[in-house]
Symmetry: C2
Subunit: 429 residues, 2 copies
């Protein structure tokens, strides 16, 4: 290039995390920032919203250029959400136009040409709307979604970054607990119940089924939110497993409902003050087994551990999380708008995939449920089709570095930019 | 040796696992069997009791010589109890002399000269008694204990194999969950409660404290069974953490008691039928925080996962578990009786240790509690003395091999020897 070439105005990127975090959402952030740094001819700064979209409304923007290359690289192996996430869904434009205007105002003030929203279906919807509003307000901003959710419920994409690692952790955990109870069952505990996340769809519960390679292996029973709880059939199945294998190992989704569509975890238990019981469908199922079959039980509830267990992340998942972050920057450079990079599967075995381009409009607010043919006929297990789909997603062990016996995760400096927009009612949120 | 040398009668070993299994009890079994195989000049077969001492009473003895070297080597990375364990405490000799006589009868029938009992304080007591009874009945048997328990409550030994791996898992898990909640706290969950095992002593709860390297790191609060639950002080501490760090991360021992010495998990909650609530002190604590401070919470219960998570075992722990198994065979060859190999600490940093010899009588039925100076003054954290003690025990990552995305654990053939003792009343247990 000659020295007289016009230097194009650099686009800054604003990256925000949304909703429940995962073991690999920071790997996507790493992909975004590293790719932007490698393309400093085309991209300006990467700002990150503090605590997601709320940080944009409050004009709390983190200047990631102040972080070292080493710190950014370490995001690839750090769980949680490095800049903070939030549970905050923007209202519709009709209901709260001022909120969108405020967003555009903040983006414009910081020369942000690209907004990247790393989340699930809600986030795709929000990013899509911001793209439309910017256009109308005369400040067009490229909006690019980056997929993320352990729930694996986004359409179009083969899988959602975050799911593969959670699935690997769930399957490993129920395998290990099943080895434990198998040793104890002759004289002690006969039933183990492990509760996993998934209020609407049984993807993570199904992942537990990957641990079962032979009939005797746990889990012997999976309870899916897709199937109404059939108490009699369930208890029969527990009895049969204990009779045949000596013990029964169970994975239950938090979203399991009874025949009337009521969550099993809301079992009417009340404390002395009339407060609802403390939650957890695993203890409910365990107690039922005790009452009806008089079998000794143990139960575990994974909760946040299943989505933060970066120590056991799937290499495939980490690679894909990084790849969608990287692709988002490439889309930004190519001038794309209202799109999301997604995972496209080419084949199951060997698993081959590439990044494809999807429209945000096609992903917004659509939940992908498990295919009916992933659940076995009796409703308590997974099929070969399910295994074929899921096994590739848990391949490879992407261990983090350990220091002094514990995983060494990074904490960023997260220094905020100076606020330059006049304070509004959003500033005090 | 000349051909006229007298070939000594080979001692067979009977190895049995006892009580709750761990991530590394099979590593001790591996140490026993591999060392016996390497000393086939001095040691006959290694039998393993099926399901612990019950298997001896029922004369269900597994012939480990039928297992391949590869299968035995794989025990070193396999959780659970490969031959089955049991919760069964022998009565005193006075109460049930016949039971001891039956044991000796079975040992004698299979030419067993050495009985190895891999367990905690109860098992040390049992092994000690069997040694005394054998002597009296004219069939002296060398009884050798092998230490094991995630509870870390055996005296004499520096630590108990099984504890270090559970501690590493607990500390890693609360670190990871703390990263998660830190990202969510601004607009959602503010408190995370993780329940760990330890009904009588807070060793595992204390291990959670290793994750906290800076003030802001979780866990901010540990609830120990050693300290009566002080509701007001606890709630103040939760509020303070949320105010200062934005969130509060808590580790609670299942054994926490109120001021009257009653388990907190027994909180009087009853279902519609008057049955006691479903257990779990984590949900109890979480509910308390919701009621008193109105903070959004999440909770997890680790249960069996913390003692079976072989995928995150401590290399130090695996080494020690193997070493006590190996030493047990060396003691057997040396003709020792009523002893247990234990871990002797030489220094904290660098951590140096060797195997020492302890008398079973000194270990039997004695519980080692946490030193008072391991708990911080306010009762909610650990001290530097505790860190200095514990950190060495979680060092090193002894990853198992993975196949197809999941840890590859071994299942033995576990073929039983032919029964040769006349059936007695114990045979039908």
């Amino acid at each position: 290039m000659g020295i007289y070439d016009i230097i194009p105005r650099m686009k800054n990127i604003l990256y925000a995390q949304s909703g429940g975090v995962t073991a690999v959402i920071n790997a996507s952030a790493c992909g975004v920032i590293e790719t932007a740094r490698a393309n400093s001819d085309n991209i300006g700064k990467v700002f990150a919203a503090k605590n997601g979209i709320i940080g944009v409304l409050k004009e709390e923007l983190i200047d990631t250029s102040l972080e070292s290359d080493a710190a950014i690289a370490a995001l690839k192996h750090t769980p949680g959400g490095a800049f903070g996430s939030c549970r905050y869904k923007l209202k519709s434009i009709e209901e709260n136009k001022a909120e969108y205007e405020r967003l555009i105002e903040v983006l414009a003030a910081h020369d942000i040409g690209v907004f990247m929203y790393n989340g699930g279906g809600d986030s795709a919807d929000t990013a899509h709307k911001i793209s439309q509003v910017g256009e109308k307000l005369g400040y067009p901003v490229q909006c690019i979604g980056i997929p993320k959710t352990i729930d694996n419920d986004l359409p179009v994409t083969d899988t959602c970054p975050g799911f593969g690692s959670a699935a690997k952790y769930v399957a490993t955990s129920i395998r290990e607990a099943s080895y434990d109870i198998a040793a104890m069952a002759s004289s002690s505990t006969k039933v183990f119940v492990m509760e996993v996340m998934g209020r609407h769809a049984g993807w993570l519960a199904a992942a537990g089924g990957l641990a079962r390679e032979q009939d005797a292996d746990g889990p012997h029973i999976i309870l899916f939110p897709e199937r109404a709880f059939d108490k009699a059939a369930f208890l029969n199945k527990v009895s049969a497993a204990v009779k045949q294998y000596g013990f029964c190992s169970i994975v239950v989704s938090e979203g399991v409902k009874d025949q009337d569509g009521k969550f099993l975890s809301d079992n009417g238990v009340r404390d002395a003050f009339g407060h609802a019981q403390l939650g957890g469908v695993a203890p409910t199922i365990a107690q039922l087994i005790k009452q009806e079959l008089d079998l000794k039980y143990h139960w575990a509830v994974l909760d946040y551990l299943q989505r933060s267990a970066r120590h056991l992340a799937s290499q495939t998942d980490v690679d894909q999380a990084y790849a969608v972050g990287k692709a988002a920057v490439e889309y930004a450079i190519a001038g794309k708008n209202a799109v999301m990079p997604v995972i496209v599967r080419e084949s199951d075995a060997p698993y081959k995939w590439h990044i494809g381009e999807a429209k945000l409009a096609d992903l917004a607010n659509v939940e992908k449920m498990m295919p009916a043919n992933f659940i076995s006929e009796d409703g308590f297990g997974i099929t070969q089709a399910c295994r074929d789909y899921m096994l590739p997603l848990i391949q490879g062990e992407a261990y983090p570095p350990f220091i002094n016996g514990l995983p060494a995760y990074v904490k960023l400096k997260n220094e905020l930019c100076k606020k330059i927009v006049e304070e509004t009612n959003y500033a005090s949120r």
